[in-house]
């Protein structure tokens, strides 16, 4: 019962940490856009936090360059569990237009386990919210 309550609370209160790993920063801008009046993800209890130690969800954008790969892993390790990873944008899901890039160590799911993929270049904020709703369904 207590566990149940905590899971429920988790669903209602996701702290997201934004991790950009070689993106074109459009996805990142759109993530920030989610915070702003039109989309306002705080309605759902989501807050953007500055430290990965507070986070429940990593929002990963970008192709995951070689320079980033080990850092992403480190950050994933630092995130307190239960924690989830959302790959945002074509880049994070597949590599997108930079797929042939030499620097590419990703896509992200090659580096860390990904729970939800949100494709698009960039995905619209609505899509991101929809993706996170999918994530909520996944949390048990």
């Amino acid at each position: 019962m207590a566990i149940d309550l905590k899971t429920k609370a988790l669903k209602k209160s996701l702290f997201v940490f934004h991790l950009s790993t070689g993106s074109c920063n459009n996805c990142d801008i759109e993530i920030l856009d989610c915070l702003t009046p039109r989309f306002d993800i705080e309605r759902f209890g989501m807050v953007l936090v500055g430290s990965v130690k507070h986070a429940d969800v990593l929002l990963v954008t970008g192709i995951g360059t070689i320079k980033n790969a080990e850092r992403i892993k480190k950050l994933y390790e630092q995130m307190p569990k239960p924690g989830f990873v959302v790959a945002i944008g074509a880049c994070a899901c597949t590599g997108g237009i930079f797929k042939e890039g030499y620097q590419m160590a990703g896509p992200i799911d090659k580096i860390i386990p990904v729970d939800v993929y949100i494709p698009g270049c960039p995905p619209k904020p609505e899509a991101m919210i929809a993706g996170i709703v999918k994530l909520l369904e996944k949390i048990k």
Partner: protein, 146 residues
């Protein structure tokens, strides 16, 4: 175009060729020994703004284009310098233009051109790759040996 005349006047034989792509785009070819003088003149006396430098690998040699903008006329002057490919080194212009610091660093990193008297010729973009890996060189093996 008087400005180009001025440059020609000043350096005469040192300007190996002048090429007008159109009236706003001028390419001047010079020797690498004369670079500093010409840059000094263009940067200080003509009060041009340094835009950037593009390094190009021609296999036979390397080419560096120093782009300067004369903002009041909207003219872009590109100084073309050819340097030896086997031993690519050239005087750094950072002593004149501070802003060239990172631009030259990048060229060093991606093309392997050594800039003499550059204050901090370190890699900063691809420092995870092995030494001697110059991706923008045309004969670059394509991937660093791992």
């Amino acid at each position: 175009m008087e400005i180009i005349e001025q440059v020609k006047e000043k350096f005469k034989s040192k300007i190996k060729s002048v090429f007008f792509h159109n009236e706003k785009r001028v390419y001047l070819e010079i020797d690498k020994e004369d670079l500093i003088d010409v840059v000094k003149f263009i940067f200080h006396d003509l009060d041009a703004r340094f835009i950037t430098a593009s390094g190009i690998d021609n296999l036979k040699d390397m080419e560096i284009l120093y782009h300067f903008s004369l903002d009041s006329d909207g003219i872009v002057i590109s100084l073309r310098v050819f340097i030896d490919r086997d031993n690519p080194c050239i005087e750094s212009i950072t002593s004149i233009v501070k802003g060239a610091l990172n631009i030259e660093r990048e060229m060093y990193e991606l093309l392997g051109i050594k800039f003499l008297n550059h204050p901090g010729l370190k890699r900063f973009l691809t420092d995870e790759f092995p030494e001697g890996f110059y991706p923008l060189r045309k004969d670059s093996p394509g991937r660093a040996e791992q």
